[in-house]
């Protein structure tokens, strides 16, 4: 039975259900226990599972990421929370050279079934060092899977898939999405990794997006609808593996594509989507693929400048108008 719960509750529900289902699953990170989670995602879990399975760590990402990887190598299924993905930079070597490589360098003898999770990208005025969209770094790495859900139901379904997957899965959440509500089915719902979802059907332009930007795209689409532009929104959900079939299918239908994500415009997931769209749907494209991203600057602290730098519905609307206008008659003037 679906009921309306918050994003953070959906995540918590997935973790609790998986921990109840499988004793090897445990949670570890800064403030996940006694403090009930920096963003209250893990609220009540220490009380429920005790300190053996909900472990508070020192402020030492390199350390507890490495401990998690080691635990996964010997058969446990850790969930490692980063207070924000920005802090994972300290543990980058563990993830890049540890988690992503274990299976390869052990010749398949060792798996690394671990989930790293935490809030990602911009929040409200957390400064340049805490506002970064880290998924772009990790999504380039073979051996890692990266997911970034936009809705509570997907958060629950993807978290379950991530925990059950035998590979490292990096789970990108969003501070500003934790409180959004949505229908979430009770019990065991699974959203497979690597499957995108059309969250709004349309005919004139595909917006490929994920995470918080899916909501920005929705807002833009509603405005564009009033102008007579029908936007299809594809929520990637998984960034690696990338659901190229879904991208290609949608672009073949609408002939135009705008990619919207947080993070800088140099390279990244948007460039990857653009590559797939132009390579696999070239003959269906009626306009260049545009990307709407965070500006190519360190995030300003100033609230107005921060708003300016991050993708807002207005910029998405502008990009969609631009690609759609190429496919339509010129103004008579």
């Amino acid at each position: 039975m679906p009921r309306v719960i918050r994003f953070r509750e959906a995540l918590r529900e997935a973790m609790i259900e998986e921990m109840e289902r499988d004793d090897r699953v445990f949670l570890m990170g800064e403030e996940v226990g006694y403090y009930q989670g920096a963003y209250k995602v893990t609220e009540g879990m220490l009380e429920k599972f005790g300190p053996r399975r909900v472990i508070d760590t020192p402020i030492a990402e390199g350390g507890f990421a490495g401990i998690g990887i080691g635990a996964a190598m010997v058969g446990l299924r850790p969930i490692i929370e980063f207070m924000t993905w920005n802090f994972s930079a300290v543990a980058f070597d563990q993830i890049l050279n540890g988690a992503a490589k274990i299976r390869q360098i052990s010749g398949g003898q060792l798996n690394c079934p671990i989930v790293f999770r935490g809030p990602n990208a911009s929040a409200k005025q957390v400064g340049s060092q805490h506002s970064q969209a880290m998924e772009h770094f990790y999504a380039t790495v073979p051996g890692l899977k990266v997911v970034a859900p936009a809705f509570p139901a997907d958060a629950k379904g993807l978290m379950k898939s991530a925990i059950r997957d035998n590979n490292p899965v990096l789970f990108m959440e969003s501070e500003t999405l934790y409180s959004i509500k949505g229908d979430v089915p009770e019990g065991d719902i699974i959203v497979p990794l690597g499957k995108a979802q059309i969250i709004r059907p349309g005919t004139d332009c595909t917006i490929v997006t994920y995470s918080r930007m899916a909501h920005v795209a929705m807002e833009a689409a509603m405005t564009l609808e009033k102008e007579g532009i029908s936007v299809e929104i594809l929520d990637l959900r998984s960034l690696r593996p990338l659901d190229e079939d879904a991208i290609v299918q949608s672009v073949r239908k609408t002939h135009r594509c705008v990619v919207v994500h947080e993070g800088w415009p140099y390279g990244g997931v948007g460039a990857e989507v653009a590559d797939r769209a132009q390579r696999l749907a070239f003959d269906w494209l009626d306009a260049p693929i545009l990307r709407v991203t965070t500006f190519d600057v360190p995030m300003p602290y100033n609230a107005k400048l921060e708003e300016l730098c991050t993708p807002q519905p207005e910029r998405v609307i502008g990009a969609v108008r631009r690609v759609v206008s190429r496919g339509r008659a010129a103004r008579s003037t």
Binding site: P288, T294, S325
Partner: protein, 478 residues
Amino acid sequence: MAKILNMPKLSPTMEEGVLVAWHKNEGDSVDIDDLLAEVETDKATMEFRSFDKGTLLKILVQAGESVKLGQAVAALGNAGENVTELIAQAAAPAPARTTSPTLPVPSPAPGAAAPAPVVVAPPPQVPFQPVSRGSLLTRTEREAADAESADTEAGAADATGATGQVLASPYVRKVARERGIDLTGAHGTGVHGRIVPADLDSLATRPPSSDSAGHAGAAVAQGAHAPAPTPASLAAPEVRPLSPMRKTIARRLANSKASVPHFYLTIDVDAEALVALRELINGQLAEVGKNTNQKKASDEAKPLKVSLNDLLVKAVAAALVRVPECNAQFDDNAILVHRRVDISVAVAIPDGLVTPVVRNADQKSVVAIASEIRDLASRARAKKLSPKEMSDGTFSISNLGMFGIDEFSAVINPPEGGILAVGRVRHEPVVKDSAVVPGKKIAMTLSCDHRVIDGAAGAAFLAELRSLIEHPMRILTG
């Protein structure tokens, strides 16, 4: 040092030519100005002569092949030189036309840029919103905006027909391919004439543009062109590739009929006296010929004969001198009344027709005109006329009398203002001095460019012409 010989521009409007025959073989030595090959251009068969000395090392294009301007046709150098690499370089794809400053920009032949039919589009729902350069867009968005600005410049050039590029997305091109729609030369309703998906329906029904006819012809030559789909139950037509001349005819005449407002004036002239005069002249010429040609070889001994058409050329020239309004052409800002009377004479040849020009016909004798036309016509049939000999006429005559046509109307040969279509001499009863007697008549129809020639001026010209023909001695006296 070996070099590649490229197809030269042998006529002012040439874009490609058919290499009709090689006059040198591989290994032959070549001197400056030696005839290398003959090339059929859009105008005539032209001589391709060497600018250099050396040995023809390699022939890259076989006789009968269609060759684009600037395309490599042969390698010339010292005997024994290895030209493999040079040829490989020449075969590498040439830079795109728009970016190559060395390729001559084809001067648009009159009417070459026939406008595509204007497609009436519904009012656009999407305003095109240019992005101000200074705004704080991300680089990806800004570059897209810049690309649009570049489009603007390309679009402006396109509007002048200089680039000839078709603006259409991969999607539009794909659909066009699938539906067999030829986009060459097409203009769409999008920004800068970009072809948008909605344009494809109207483009599907348009007649092929002059340019596209050329391209289709090239494709036919390579055997790649699929003829227009024929229902499966019907036999497919025989596909005859377009010769350069046929393409030119198609382009010029379609443009003339589409853009020049034609109207037609017909007279039926008593030709009794004209026919009699011709017989008189020819009788005398034969007498003279007998005496002067006795010692000459028999094939040159054919005495010169004057045809009715020769007399009519002279008559028309004389009438044009009297009514100069009909010896004029339309220009965008003015009517140009010619100070010369240069008559284009339509000559049918196996593959089509050409119009060699008799210059200053008003100042030449009928015999001079006759011998000139005979020379022009025989060289026309051999495709040996130079483009110069076929351009810049001021008025045309087309005579289908020898084919038994009673009367017809002709298509104006732009930029000329008029053309006279002449039928056969009809033997029929005429009323003379209140009695019906056997007579001879010729019907002739003047096609006028109404922008230049009004009905009254055309009628005045025909009245002069009738008067000349019915009193043909005046033709001889000018």
